[in-house]
Amino acid sequence: MITPLDRTPGFGIYLHWPFCAAKCPYCDFNSHVRHQPVDQERFAAAFERELATMRARTGPRTVTSIFLGGGTPSLMEPRTVEALLDAVASNWSVPDGIEVTLEANPSSVEADRFRGYRAAGVNRVSLGVQALNDRDLKFLGRLHNVEEALKAIGLARETFPRLSFDLIYARPGQSEEAWAEELRQAIGHAADHLSLYQLTIEEGTRFQLLHAAGKLDMPDGDHAARLYEITQEVTAAHGLPAYEISNHARPGAESRHNLVYWRYGEYVGVGPGAHGRFIENGRRHVTFTEKMPETWLERVETKGHGVIGGEVLTHDEEADEFLLMGLRLVEGIDLPRYEALSGRALSNSRIAVLQEEGLVEPIGNTRLRATPQGMIVLDAVVADLARE
């Protein structure tokens, strides 16, 4: 169980490895396919430089979690991972035992590197399993099959203290029964954490083109809602309740790093196309870096960082982001913190209306959260609450 003491938002380090073996048709993350081998040493050196530059901006801090995301970080050699983690530790205080996650693809080639990652200091992997049937894996553009995925899960469970894997549901043609069955099967293989995302059509992806051409038969709102509800029911029944819209964990096994985002903590983003948000000179700063890996690399090598933009957030913007992220959590938000950020309280009359509709509920006197019914329409709830 998360104790109130654990609710400190934290200070995380995010490292973005932008390369993938292939581009998945649903993914709009910053990922690039390279047919020439990537000079990992050179990139690692650039990560080290950018980390040092960020350190100069944040000052000395204690890191609460590290996350290697992508792209496909499991395309990194273990020694590259080690170099990156060492660089983090040389800039900030990194206590022993903090959560260090690496995103990995469950292909056999990558699984072979698991031991090396563990030795480098990774203590949690997040596997992009995405589906437990080969037909859908192919549809989702994945390079692995179910057999490989299950093997990778097994190996990861042996290798790492903590493991999560992702599934994508609400796929075209997916029935309620089929999903419930697949989910039960997944839970059978799961350790302590699952990320279960509804398939959404993102701008600039291949699926968007197909969708626009009418070639993707996406589930309608009612069906998608049903699938979401089933997800909540099945996971809760198996001891992996949702703690965020799409994330499920055995109590106490929540992803510490992702909680940094949702609790609106601070995070440093390093690597091509990484975003960061941290306090500098008393104000919350946004940073984002050049997305093209090679361009980012050159910038870092000449300037010491690849940051191409950012801003100081206004108090209203901070309050909006806090609300957007915080209400995604089952633990809800701390109302005094909202007031401290925005300088005003949430409208009591709006809360009352939403409460009457069963969409939000207070927890004690100082917290507010979305109910399960509220979660499913959370974007509308947030838009309603965020108004001046």
Binding site: Y228, L324, V353
Partner: protein, 602 residues
């Protein structure tokens, strides 16, 4: 330049259906008589407002003085008063016609006689005009001059044997038109140069530099700069600052004599200080026989105009004030609506007038407006014996206080290719119409109906256009008030009445209209987090109902650090969007929904 003998003056106007080429002909006449240098020519000179040029309509009467050397070697002054063609502006037409002795009737040689042709030519005949018929667009392959001549004779009853074939576009026949103006239209009658001044106030408008400009037609006497004039109707006197003519540029002259048309300025502050049709005379030597004058135009259609952004309210007030400077027939008074906030209840001469005013406010003053459903002026006969006029359904007195309700009726004339006659008759019948005449000329039918105006303001014209693919023409005049079985229909969204959507409808049409409104709102109001009933009700009785079901799913599946900026921007947009929504209890209705729901067409 103004000592033209009466015998060498011709005052005329041009009457035509929209698009039959009235303005193009005017351009040609100006060009041929050399009133403007070529470089000053632009299309449709007399339609000076952008909106007039774009829509091909004339809103304000305009005048131009043409200097013409006729084939007999003599010099003539031809004054053209260009008149609006649309029924909404019939009032402006009639007063302009009264300043002339003759008219050119322009008929499109391929289209033939249309509804406005009729309405306008009858007005000209009523004003004892001599008519010269002109067949325009004879260069078009579809032109059929013989058929159209026959039609003119049969439908209008004018001798069309000497109709002049022209093409205003190419210039063919324009010289014949000029010659016919001189030879076939009469010179102004009477006109005693030495008699006391008697002049007709034809029109007036506001000019930012010169103040109020008054267009006049001199009957007797002389109008000179420095003279003190008296408006006999308003009994106000003014010293004349300037006297001039429009060529169509303003050219100052020393004086205007009998039969002449020109303008004066006289330190008049507002257009409202001038009364069209008034008699202008000389203060110290007044005429003993003032002109009969005109009845002022009464607004017949009302609607509420509200700023989309409440902060624009004062700007809207100022803009309306400015438009009214030039258009005394447009009226407005402040109105408050729970749905739309502060705005104005406005009166118009008709639907086109409404559209034009709205468009000018939006375009010339850069305002975003919401217009409520147009309504006519109802007369409420109260049980107390009093009669009150109702301009806004929201102000309807308590039903128990009302004895009877009267509504305005019109006589509508529709000309159409006979293929469309069936659907037109059905449309008129559905709108409580009473057929009074039906006749054929060749393959065209002319049908006249008596119709309640409130049925016409609600999308009648759009329906007519769509069922006839735009081939039918339509014109109407008000014929008086009749008692009707009318009820107030309210619209309730989530049990809350929405005042801006209430309307007076005929009892038999109420259910259908209510259903249509509910269906429309169901489409227009976005799903909320809860379900929303939409009801149309008469009194306490619900006559139509729809339900907007609750939104099922609206949540971003994946949301991490990098996404936050994008999500925040999205949220900001949503918040911005909510500013354009109106709150009804728990329900937010986008203003766009009002605009769409209130559109006359469906």
């Amino acid at each position: 330049m103004t000592n033209t003998p009466l015998s060498h003056i011709r005052n005329f106007s041009i009457v035509a259906h929209i698009d039959h080429g009235k303005s193009t002909l005017a351009d040609r006449l100006i060009q041929m008589t050399g009133s403007l240098a070529d470089r000053e020519m632009k299309d449709q000179i007399l339609d000076s407002m952008d909106i007039e040029r774009e829509r091909g309509i004339t809103i304000k009467a305009q005048t131009v003085r043409l200097e013409y050397d006729a084939r007999n070697g003599e010099h003539y002054v031809l004054n053209l008063i260009d008149t609006p063609g649309h029924v909404d502006f019939a009032y402006e037409v009639s007063r302009s016609l009264s300043a002339c002795e003759g008219s050119l009737l322009v008929v499109d040689a391929s289209q033939g006689v249309e509804a406005q042709t009729l309405a306008n030519v009858y007005q000209a005949i009523d004003n004892d005009h001599e008519i010269v018929t002109v067949l325009n667009k004879v260069d078009l392959p579809a032109a059929d001059t013989e058929r159209v001549k026959e039609q003119i004779e049969e439908v209008i009853g004018l001798d069309a044997s000497d109709a002049i074939p022209i093409s205003a576009k190419t210039g063919v026949g324009i010289d014949d038109v000029l010659e016919a103006i001189v030879t076939r239209l009469p010179a102004p009658e009477g006109g005693d140069r030495e008699a006391p001044l008697k002049a007709l106030l034809v029109d007036s408008w506001y000019d930012a530099y010169l103040g109020v400009i008054v267009l006049v037609r001199v009957i007797d006497g002389k109008l000179k700069k420095g003279q003190t004039i008296r408006m006999m109707g308003t009994d106000a006197k003014y010293p004349v600052d300037r006297v001039g003519v429009m060529t169509p540029k303003m050219v100052m002259v020393d004086e205007l004599g009998p039969g002449e048309i020109g303008f004066i300025t006289a330190s008049i502050k507002e257009v409202a200080d001038t009364r069209v049709g008034d008699t202008i005379t000389e203060d110290k030597r007044q005429t003993t026989s003032p002109l009969p004058g005109f009845k002022p135009a009464q607004p017949v259609v009302f609607c509420g105009l509200f700023p989309v952004d409440a902060a624009d309210f004062e700007d809207l007030r100022a803009a309306m004030g400015k438009l009214r400077l030039n258009d005394a027939s447009f009226s407005f008074e402040m109105e408050t609506s729970a749905a739309l906030g502060f705005g104005f209840r406005c009166g118009f001469l008709g639907l086109l007038h409404l559209e034009i005013i709205q468009e000018r406010l939006e375009r010339e003053f850069n305002l975003d407006l919401i217009a409520t459903a147009p309504s006519v002026v109802y007369r409420m006969n109260l049980t107390s014996g009093d009669q009150v006029e109702l301009h806004n359904p929201a102000d309807m007195p308590d039903i128990v206080r009302i004895d009877t309700i009267e509504e305005p009726w019109i006589k509508a004339t529709i000309l159409t290719p006979d293929d469309y006659l069936g659907p037109i008759l059905k449309l008129c019948q559905d709108r409580r119409g009473i057929q009074t005449d039906l006749s054929y000329v060749g393959k065209r039918a002319m049908v006249t109906y008596e119709l309640p105006l409130n049925e016409v303001v609600f999308d009648f014209y759009d329906r007519l256009k769509s069922i006839t693919k735009g081939y039918a023409s339509f014109d109407y005049q008000i014929i008086g008030y009749r008692e009707g079985d009318l009820v107030k229909m309210s619209v309730l969204v989530n049990e809350e009445p929405v005042d801006a959507l209430s309307m007076l409808v005929h009892r038999q049409a109420a259910e259908k209209r209510g259903r249509a409104m509910c269906e429309k709102l169901k489409e227009l109001i976005p799903r909320h987090m809860f379900k929303i009933p939409i009801q149309a009700a008469i009194g306490g009785k619900v006559v139509a109902r729809e339900t907007i079901s609750a939104m099922r799913k609206d949540v971003t599946a994946k949301c991490y650090g990098g996404d936050v900026t994008r999500k925040r921007k999205l949220l900001e947009k949503q918040k911005e969007g909510k500013k354009r929504m109106r709150q009804f209890g728990k329900v937010e209705i986008p203003q766009e929904a009002f605009i769409q729901a209130l559109k006359m067409s469906d």
